[in-house]
């Protein structure tokens, strides 16, 4: 009994026949590829073992630290440069200022907090008053 997994191979004499030219080329190529893989597989793994699986890309300090374009003009010295700066530099400065700014100023925070405290205080006052009323009502019913 032959196993079904085994590939069907054509015999040499058949491949030598004239009408089998194309098939012969195909078979030969497959054989070569197989041999090549077997030969190089060892080397590839060795090289990979040495260099690891990480790819290292080198870059300049400009990209590391997000440095800006160093050509700047202030006070209308060079109108052309300032036009270009208005697009890029001004935006970056704005972002930077925003970062520094607090979302809520200290005064606003204090005011907000005091109103919150008042609100909460009122709520508690109401609740306690309600409770008093309820308890009074309960007392009436009992009576």
């Amino acid at each position: 009994m032959t196993s079904q997994n085994q590939e069907v191979q054509l015999s040499k004499t058949i491949l030598e026949m004239k009408f089998m030219k194309k098939t012969k080329e195909k078979v030969e190529k497959a054989l070569e590829d197989k041999e090549g893989n077997a030969m190089y597989s060892n080397e590839i793994t060795e090289e990979m073992r040495r260099s690891g699986n990480l790819v290292f890309v080198s870059t300049s300090i400009t990209n590391c630290k997000n440095l800006i374009d160093g050509r700047l003009s202030f006070g209308g010295m060079n109108a052309d440069i300032e036009k270009i700066m208005a697009n890029e530099f001004a935006k970056l400065v704005e972002q930077e200022e925003k970062k520094k700014e607090k979302d809520v100023t200290d005064v606003e925070m204090a005011q907000g907090y005091s109103t919150l405290v008042n609100n909460m205080a009122k709520k508690f006052n109401k609740k306690s008053k309600n409770k008093n009323k309820k308890s009074k009502k309960g007392n009436d019913q009992v009576e």
């Binding site: 080198s58 870059t59 300049s60 440095l67 202030f74 010295m77 440069i81 270009i84």
Partner: protein, 228 residues
């Protein structure tokens, strides 16, 4: 951006973070060939890490090593045919083609003389090759690049100060702009070109940069206040 530790050349950095198997290395680091997935330090200084996968070293190096896409200030030292040789402070002079300026053609070349100062971008920078500069972007537009006027003044500063000036978080250039009316070109190669309406302003600015360079460790804004 966070500082990890002080490192010395030859030290090995392990536990390297990466995104899809890629790690970006800045100056002062290279891949370690003896151990897989580690970095070797080549320069003393502080090791910095920026998430997700960027590592670099900041030291007190004085020699500029060209890197691709750096914006630099250079002095023309030689002119031969269509090629210019530019001193950008690196070990070798960089080459700059006369055709790499905006609007330049074979017949109509820009007027650039030896001794002129250019603000240019590095197109090519490799260890074994001469660095190559251009004064146009990929759309052949000059933008901020090009020849700087002869009225200005060129000075050398340390690489660390150049990087500090180019940091958007540093308000020095902006606050000077409120006081003086000036234009400036700072190259990452440690060359700085200034131009102002009055010679006195140029001298004052020069002094500011010299003092900040000397007092690099102290707070820049303090120095700035004392001068203004």
């Amino acid at each position: 951006m966070s500082q990890i530790e002080f490192v010395l050349p030859g030290q090995v950095v392990k536990d390297v973070k990466s995104v899809r198997g890629v790690t970006i290395l800045g100056p002062g680091l290279r891949q370690n060939e003896d151990q897989p997935n580690t970095i070797c330090v080549t320069q003393p200084g502080k090791l910095y890490f920026k998430s997700p996968n960027v590592y670099w070293i900041e030291g007190n190096r004085n020699r500029y090593i060209p890197k691709k896409y750096d914006l630099v200030v250079g002095v023309i030292v030689k002119k031969s045919g269509d090629m210019l040789k530019v001193d950008i402070g690196s070990a070798e002079h960089a080459s700059l083609s006369l055709l790499a300026f905006e609007g330049a053609t074979k017949k109509q070349k820009p007027d650039v003389q030896v001794g002129d100062i250019v603000y240019a971008k590095l197109l090519n920078a490799h260890r074994e090759m001469e660095p190559e500069l251009v004064c146009v972007d990929s759309y052949y537009r000059a933008g901020t690049l090009g020849v700087l006027s002869n009225d200005g003044f060129l000075m050398n500063i340390s690489l660390t100060l150049a990087q500090k000036l180019l940091d958007i978080q540093n308000p020095l250039l902006r606050s000077l702009g409120k006081r003086f009316c000036y234009e400036i070109a700072v190259g990452v190669n440690g060359k700085l070109w200034i131009n102002a309406r009055k010679t006195k302003d140029v001298l004052n600015l020069m002094k500011v940069f010299q003092i900040t360079d000397q007092n690099a460790k102290t707070d820049l804004s303090e120095v700035n206040k004392s001068i203004l």
